[in-house]
């Protein structure tokens, strides 16, 4: 019976590779046309949408940053007024954190985790499609609001009571709070998928200690999302309830407390930084390994360091609140905890450099960005150590020193690795190489421009310049360095334009990449570029952490999965022994429709609390249809997705 045909065999006879491929292509086809485009559940397709969407938001938020730099380029500049400026920096921060940094890391996970695991699909592919749509709608909502002058203006941290009903009239902050709901819902869904994929869908033989460091970092990130994001969802719910239905969570006069917001927000907000940073560590490990042609030195230390960072990241939130007058002894504890996190970070840095020491570095663009990452990020880490100290923080808190610090951490620690990853994996995603020449330009303009833009801010902060000011007086002595900083920002913008040119040009005209252009060791390179919908024609059998370096002639694989049904193999958590054959969901339009229903409910609830009740009905219907099994069930099994 053909429905039971599996790769390698057909009714006991061998299927040749051609036939296998043809059948798999047919079985896993995502279809054509706009309906198919909205229905796709292919994790790579969804991830590409994440990439593009997040990059567009990155670009837009970058434009806002440029506007702010123009405004600050001289004292008493009248280019932008306070109302717009406040919206600009709020939008810049919110977009960069919620609509760019986290989603692009999630997108990266959605694309590469299944490939590195050697599986055919991500766990819960329909949920994955749903989470992308929710993210997209949330982002669009925020930016449409901004275009309509309903842009939030209370800062990306939205401290109460400034963001509360009395001091933020209108709907601006409500849109911000709902955007949080959208993106966190999306993020939480992705986290569940990543955990399930990594724990249950690794290729047979890929025991935990053979997992690439990239997978470890994504696993830690996913766990951090699970435990950090509920906090901000709760906080933003409290906020929007204070604003819309008159609760008193943050109203001191009625027993509420303004600092409750800060605790909840930073209990999320600090892990958030690590949620962005830890995947970047995974990228760096992958790139360093591939471009020095060595396995990463000290693999167990690296894994332990990642996990340690994940845990410690939850113990630091109070260091954002040293100036609020909390008990000093408690604060000192957070100083110590914040400093301790430098140890695992230091170990990681050491292990990468040690790998470079042993291996034969190849100075391609990805490695350049990694070197840039180390040079820039370590500065950010060290200024972080300074800020962890209570007395230092009393002086430096909320100054431009902090602005410099976290841009060194986030651009250094996330954007540089992301660009390394972009140059590294673009061939896998598109099948073509990015231009090395433009890549080098991209790197040097970014590296130089970034330092020109942000290094002077350290000094500005020490010179007393506070954050979030739309202008500053003449005679305060802040003019010239601000101008320098603006020049640097322009250089960064040029660098990003070079990147865009490179990305667009190479899509059509880049050199063909082939399956493994860098001779990298992990499983995503064991399949053609770009990978087929089903990722792997045969499920790899893994015997080491660097399977493609171990096997040069032939790749050990397992046969036996169906070629006529969407199937993948579940393995055991620790040793990755094959355990269960799991059906995979087919494309469906219902995640998209559900996302619309949920989005409509969220947006309507800004205007009336009743929307939560009435809006949940269409959402429930849509989600039910999504889960309801379709078609006649086969004798003993049918496709579906929980």
């Amino acid at each position: 019976m053909s429905a039971n045909a599996t790769e390698g065999t057909h009714d006991g006879e061998w299927l040749d590779e051609r036939e296998t491929r043809w059948r798999l292509d047919r079985t896993w086809s995502q279809g054509r046309g706009w309906l198919a485009a909205l229905s796709t559940v292919d994790h790579k397709q969804v991830a590409k949408r994440y990439f593009v969407t997040a990059f567009v938001f990155f670009f837009l938020a970058g434009v806002l940053a440029l506007l702010m730099r123009l405004q600050l380029s001289r004292a008493e500049n009248a280019l932008i007024g306070p109302d717009l400026y406040n919206q600009l920096f709020t939008m810049h921060g919110s977009t960069m954190m919620f609509l760019f940094a986290v989603p692009i890391m999630e997108g990266l996970a959605v694309y590469f985790v299944p490939l590195m695991c050697g599986t055919r699909a991500i766990a819960f592919p329909r949920l994955n499609a749903f989470s992308y749509w929710v993210y997209l709608f949330g982002g669009i909502m925020l930016w449409v609001a901004f275009a309509l002058n309903i842009g939030p203006d209370a800062g990306w941290f939205a401290y109460t009571p400034l963001s509360g009903p009395e001091y933020s009239p209108g709907k601006r902050v409500d849109f911000w709070a709902q955007m949080i709901t959208f993106t966190e819902l999306s993020g939480l869904a992705v986290a569940i998928e990543i955990v399930a994929t990594i724990f249950k869908q690794r290729a047979p033989g890929m025991a935990l200690n053979r997992m690439p460091l990239f997978l470890w970092s994504m696993l830690v990130m996913a766990f951090m999302i699970l435990f950090a994001m509920p906090s901000v969802m709760l906080a933003s719910t409290f906020l929007i309830m204070d604003r819309l239905v008159g609760t008193h969570f943050f109203n001191a006069a009625e027993g509420g407390d303004a600092l409750l917001w800060q605790h909840l927000f930073w209990f999320f907000g600090h892990p958030e930084v690590y949620i962005i940073f830890i995947p970047a560590l995974g990228i760096v490990s992958a790139v360093v390994s591939a471009f020095t042609r060595r396995p990463i030195f000290g693999y167990p230390f690296m894994v332990l360091a990642l996990i340690a960072i994940g845990f410690l990241g939850f113990g630091l939130w109070v260091h954002h609140m040293f100036t609020t007058g909390l008990p000093r002894l408690g604060s000192s504890f957070y100083t110590a905890a914040s400093m301790v996190i430098a140890i695992p970070s230091g170990i990681q840095i050491y292990c990468w450099i040690a790998t470079m020491w042993q291996g034969k570095p190849r100075f391609a663009t990805p490695l350049l960005f990694v070197v840039g990452f180390i040079l820039v990020f370590v500065i950010g880490g060290l200024t972080g150590v300074m800020l962890a100290s209570v007395p230092m923080d009393l002086q430096l808190h909320d100054t431009y020193f902090v602005v410099a610090h976290f841009h060194y951490v986030l651009i250094g620690g996330a954007v540089f690795p992301l660009l390394a990853g972009t140059y590294f994996w673009y061939p896998k995603v598109t099948g073509r190489m990015l231009s090395e020449r433009l890549g080098k330009w991209n790197f040097w303009t970014l590296f130089i421009g970034f330092n020109i833009a942000f290094f002077p801010m350290h000094y500005l902060g020490l010179a007393g310049m506070p954050r979030r000011v739309y202008t500053y007086g003449q005679g305060l002595g802040w003019d010239s360095l601000n101008l320098v900083s603006t020049v640097g920002a322009v250089l960064v913008a040029i660098s990003i334009l070079i990147l865009i040119v490179n990305l667009v040009r190479s899509r059509k005209h880049g050199e063909m990449a082939g399956a493994n252009p860098w001779d990298a060791p992990t499983l995503e390179w064991a399949t053609p570029s770009p990978p087929p919908t089903y990722n792997f024609r045969h499920i790899p059998l893994v015997a080491s952490a660097d399977p493609l370096w171990q096997h040069r002639e032939q790749l050990p694989v397992m046969r036996g999965l169906s070629v006529d049904k969407r199937e993948l193999v579940l393995t055991t958590v620790l040793d990755a022994k094959p355990d269960v054959r799991e059906p995979v969901a087919k494309p469906s339009i219902w995640p998209f429709i559900s996302a619309i229903a949920v989005g409509a409910m969220f947006i309507a609830s800004i205007f009336t609390p009743w929307a939560v009740i009435f809006g949940s009905i269409p959402a429930a219907i849509a989600i039910t249809v999504w889960f309801w099994p379709k078609g006649a069930p086969p004798p003993d099994e049918e496709e579906s997705e929980p």
Partner: protein, 244 residues
């Protein structure tokens, strides 16, 4: 004064004549747009907008590409228009006269065509703007309206959140009441409170009674909610979704 007519129900938004009340420097020069000018593109507003404090990203929408066109087309125009005005922060008074055309009339119940038009205009201008209403709320506390009228429930002064008005409950009538004062204790604030602030107060007073678009009204206060035992009991019996 320049007014433009609506292209449909509810869409008309009076805009003020050109005047020297731009608080922020012109962004045109930098090629930046103003969302109100996006309204202009729809032929709704007048030639001049009051506050250039918005960059329009309608042309740079977040998704880019194919989604953009579809998305822009789907934007409900009405929403766009109301949002433009509702969320603006107007820091300076309009340059044209905002003194009600009809003069002192104690009953305030009869109004001519001109004053009806004016009333409509001021309602849209002030009641329809979240910032004005919230400024009115601040001034309500600052100028101690609270002292006599409490949070609208009334105390030694009459309540402001019901439908019973001695001297008229329209925005221009409330304006005149504040400016001229009324017998039995309401002082005249004319000359003591600048005209725009009086309008803001009047808009806030109107919003206490549930007038004006809901999305422009203020949320709860950041101080004690209960002025009196009575108010407390009311709230216990029936929690309101829209607390004052």
């Amino acid at each position: 004064m320049e007014r433009t007519e609506s292209i449909g129900r509810k869409k008309a938004r009076p805009k003020e004549a050109p005047g020297g009340h731009k608080t922020q420097k012109n962004l045109w020069a930098w090629g930046l747009d103003n969302s109100l000018d996006a309204c202009d593109a729809n032929g709704i507003t007048s030639s001049m907008t009051r506050s250039r404090n918005k960059i329009s990203f309608v042309c740079l929408s977040p998704t880019g590409g194919f989604l953009r066109a579809r998305f822009c087309a789907a934007l409900p125009v009405l929403f766009l228009l109301s949002a433009c005005h509702r969320e603006n922060r107007y820091f300076t008074p309009p340059s044209q006269s905002d003194i009600p055309p009809t003069q002192v009339r104690m009953s305030g119940l009869v109004a001519g065509e001109a004053s009806l038009q004016f009333r409509e205009q001021q309602r849209r201008e002030y009641e329809g703007n979240a910032y004005h209403v919230s400024e009115g709320k601040r001034l309500y506390m600052w100028f101690n309206c609270y002292g006599c009228h409490a949070s609208g429930g009334g105390d030694s002064g009459p309540p402001l959140m019901d439908d019973r008005w001695i001297y008229g409950g329209e925005i221009d009538q409330i304006y005149l009441t504040i400016v001229q004062g009324r017998p039995n204790g309401m002082p005249a604030f004319g000359g003591k409170i600048p005209s725009q602030q009086v309008w803001q107060l009047a808009a806030y007073v109107r919003s206490m009674g549930g007038h004006g678009p809901k999305s422009a009204r203020s949320g709860r206060d950041d101080h004690m909610q209960r002025d009196s035992e009575q108010g407390r009991k009311d709230e216990e019996i029936k929690p309101t979704a829209e607390p004052r």
